[in-house]
């Protein structure tokens, strides 16, 4: 028991040390690399907190995709960004900011130390109602059934974010292809990686979606892995990004939320309420929604990372 606590303390100290480094290091590219390391350490923290579903999510999105996004941004901004560092606010403002941050952190820490005991929990309720969906993973049950409204709206948030990113395109590139065209070099190790990893990655992604019903995993985690595989193939130059005006891309983007809405309104009509699944069909319905959502998550996240259209769409 005590050795566990010592390990936890070391892990927490490592997380904070890398976090400090991300904040103070001069070079932004180094900070972005540090952020990826920070995310991976955080993944270990989530494992220690017995939240494997969240650990998968943090590793895939928090560290992986966000990390890739920030690395790309820092390399695009390049040395020009460094000059902005000279505009560092004065000692006075920095002291006030530090003071404010310490106060906020201290208040949060106090809240952690004085959490109610015994802690309120919905775990027994979640378990008692698991039979309604036929799935054993309580987190998937909460995401897909008990709090399905959150999940559906989150999909819509993703779409709004993507619409925001696309709207930053220059007028003449509207409907075109996002990101630069990466050139393929068959001798490049990256090309080899991009040829060998995606078949495995896609299988892992679908496995995670399927296993998500009873074990840690689910549509988000699976979709993120598939998105990462696609990005790898794009960066290696093996494939190109589709024009954003492509009808099939748009269909994939709305498949998840649309199906969710149809089932939701079906619940209003056939069942008791919006998003109330008829118990007899709950599992097949949820599986269909999850498959559509995996597709949507994969396409949306992939397109969010590559950014607004930057080239003409014509092949």
């Amino acid at each position: 028991m005590t050795s566990d606590i010592i390990l936890d303390c070391i892990l927490a100290a490592l997380v904070l040390a890398v976090g400090c480094w991300v904040i103070v290091v001069r070079d932004s590219f180094a900070a972005a690399v540090g952020f990826v390391a920070y995310g991976l350490l955080l993944t270990l923290v989530w494992v220690r907190l017995d939240a494997i579903d969240v650990a998968l999510m943090e590793g895939a999105i928090g560290s992986g995709l966000t990390g890739a996004l920030l690395l790309r941004a820092s390399s695009r901004l390049g040395a020009k960004e460094q000059s902005t560092a000279a505009e560092q606010p004065g000692v006075m403002l920095r002291t006030v900011a530090a003071l404010l941050s310490v106060i906020v952190a201290a208040m949060l820490a106090t809240a952690v130390l004085y959490l109610p005991d015994p802690a309120p929990t919905l775990a027994p309720e979640a378990a008692a109602n698991a039979s309604a969906t036929g799935m054993a993973n309580p987190v998937t049950n909460v995401l897909m059934a008990f709090r399905a409204m959150d999940t559906m709206l989150e999909k819509v948030v993703l779409l709004v974010a993507l619409a925001g990113v696309w709207s930053l395109a220059r007028d003449r590139y509207w409907g075109g292809r996002p990101g630069p065209r990466f050139r393929s070099d068959p001798k490049d190790p990256l090309a080899l990686l991009a040829q060998t990893l995606p078949p495995l990655g896609i299988v892992v992604g679908i496995y995670m979606l399927w296993e998500g019903a009873d074990a840690p995993g689910g549509a988000f985690q699976g979709g993120t892995i598939i998105a990462a595989m696609w990005l790898l193939a794009v960066i290696a130059g093996l494939t190109d990004t589709p024009p954003v005006s492509n009808r099939r891309v748009r269909l994939a983007l709305i498949a998840g939320p649309l199906l969710f809405l149809i089932v939701g309104f079906g619940g209003l009509w056939l069942g008791e309420a919006f998003l109330a699944y008829p118990v007899a069909y709950a599992k097949p319905l949820l599986l269909v929604i999850e498959f559509a959502m995996t597709l949507t998550v994969a396409v949306t996240l992939g397109l969010l990372i590559v950014g607004p259209p930057e080239r003409e769409g014509a092949p």
Binding site: D4, D8, C9, A12, G19, V22, I23, A31, A32, F35, L49, D50, A51, V54, E58, G62, T66, L69, L70, A73, S74, R76, L77, K80, E81, S83, T84, A85, E87, Q88, P89, L93, R94, A98, V102, A105, L108, A109, A111, L113, A119, T121, L122, A123, P124, A126, P138, V139, V142, L143, R147, E154, V157, L158, A161, L168, D171, F220, L301, L304
Partner: protein, 113 residues
């Protein structure tokens, strides 16, 4: 002292760290990074609350865990939008400065359309 307390304090400190970085660092990309640090700290607090909700056969309360999963996706979407805005701003003004004085002297000809 339990794992939940250790990581709860860690989350509180990470939130404070992120808040400081978001205010004190003048570079927008670093502000975005700091903001992500801040949100990761808040997520960790949720994780601690979930862990404390563990009863008998369950390792934790699934509701806060599901909320964090939703939160991580939304945070990633927000970061993607922020980065896209920053890159567009950089392309239009040739600079990443957010100070009004420095922006006025930036070349305006690069703003297209």
């Amino acid at each position: 002292m339990t794992a939940a307390v250790v990581f709860g304090l860690c989350g509180a400190a990470a939130a404070g760290l992120g808040l400081y970085g978001a205010i004190a660092n003048p570079r927008p990309l670093r502000k975005i990074l700091a903001f992500n640090l801040l949100s990761s700290g808040v997520f960790l607090l949720f994780g601690v609350i979930a862990r404390r909700g563990a009863v008998s056969a369950f390792s934790g309360d699934p509701v806060p865990q599901a909320l964090v999963i939703t939160g991580i996706v939304v945070a990633a979407a927000g970061t993607a939008l922020a980065v896209a805005l920053l890159l567009r701003f950089f392309k239009a003004t040739g600079s990443t400065t957010l100070s009004a004085g420095a922006l006025a002297s930036a070349p305006a000809d690069s703003i297209d359309e």
